[in-house]
């Protein structure tokens, strides 16, 4: 199997990412702060959804944080 330049770069980036991540993080008993509501990635899902839809209907960009698309005819 022959890896192209981009494939090799992805492989190297992936290896670095995984090895880098392995040195990060906390132990299970150190998750008290991470367990707070405001540390959840979807801490306020309705607020985020309402804002996303506002921006979707008024701007040319959407998505990134989650899937783009709209499911509405507003844009």
């Amino acid at each position: 199997m022959k890896l192209g330049r981009s494939g090799l770069l992805c492989l190297m980036a992936g290896t670095l990412l995984v090895s880098g991540c392995s040195s990060l993080g906390v132990k299970p008993w150190q998750r008290d702060v991470l367990a707070r509501e405001e540390m959840r990635l979807d801490a306020n899902p309705l607020d985020a959804a309402i804002d996303d839809h506002l921006y979707f209907s008024k701007e040319a960009s959407s998505g990134g944080r989650s899937f783009a698309g709209g499911g509405c005819g507003c844009n």
Partner: protein, 438 residues
Amino acid sequence: MQLKPKVSPGQPTSTRRRLMAASCALLSAGAARSQESSAARAHSGLLEDWSVDSALAYYHEDGRVQAIEPVVDVSKVFADGESLNFNATFDALSGASPNGALPSRSPQTFAGPSGKAAHAYTIAPGQLPADPHYHDTRVAAGGNWTLPLTRVDNLSVGGKFSAEDDFISATVNAAIAHDFNDKNTTLSFGIFNEFDSLHPIGNTPVPGGDITSLVRTSGKTKDGVGALLGITQVITRNWLTEFNLSVDRFTGYLNDPYKFTSIIDSGGNTTGYEYESRPDQRTRKSAYWENRVAWTAQLSTALSLRYMSDDWSVRSDTAQLHLRWSWSNRERYIEPTFRWYRQTAADFYTPFIIDTAKQSTGFESADSRLGAFRALTYGVKYAQKLPGLGSRAESEFSVRAEYYQQTFNEQVSVPASLQGLDLYPGLKAILVQIGYRF
């Protein structure tokens, strides 16, 4: 399907996002259940074992559209980690929606999309042309099911359906997430497929056609497909980061059937209008980076950055900051928000057409959402824990307000006779929302 202030969570937090959140919730479950559990995690009483999140939002644009929108979202996490989520949304919109035409020194009269005489409207000199009879309603419902496959793998599938007076949309999505590094790292990959059907009032205009032409076609469709690859990493005890790469592609009828472009002569006089004509495919790519940091027991921040580009030559940058300050033993918090956004114009965007000369690409649109502008959002939210309903431990009431403002770049030189008119009026809007969850 006109310009619609989509203050709707009909765009539910995606399957992938929920999956990522579910992973984070699971990996932090122990401590969370001991003392920091969310108000939305009550376990008995009304809708036993279901968490209910609800909101009522009111959106108002300065001199244009207003909308009111109730939303409800219910979810349940089972003992084995499996979870279900359902949501429903209703939108009611009314007001004046800009039709894309340029302000003029002379009165301008337009027929409404229906063609009925009662829907014709006249715009005074110097005013931005907008259809004052705009109204629409929308109902949407969606659901997601997350299923643990192994101790470190989760599968999630979901769907959404929404219907408007002139638009129907169905979306399916699926995602898989894998935890490793002592569940400090989560890799996820998700895909979605969207199917839209358009049935504009008065039927579908021919892109680029004269608005006085009676040539119309029947309903149209557009489809979208996309993928998102994400990684979530616990950096330290109080720092969580997420990085996503996503791409999506939409094909089909991508025009707004109610938008058209003014045709002017060299003197700046409007000589006619033609419907906008966009390409029938669009591919977008974006990179997103979010950091959540708890600085103290009271203060935390969530900072996100996004870069997006598409093959219509739109490039955008977004930065958003949420700052939360909690007090009274975390029973109350206030959350100021600031968002900065800018975008470049699509390569076929033009506020007007000189005579009948088309853009070099053969496409044109005067839709301001495809122009170059900056936008700022200022917001604040206040939330307070309350006694629970029935046997639930607690509930939460919140109220928030946002002010949104777009400022357009002047993009082309205009004939002398049009100078002094506000050709790029921008947009000012407010959003007020109350929420209750238990």
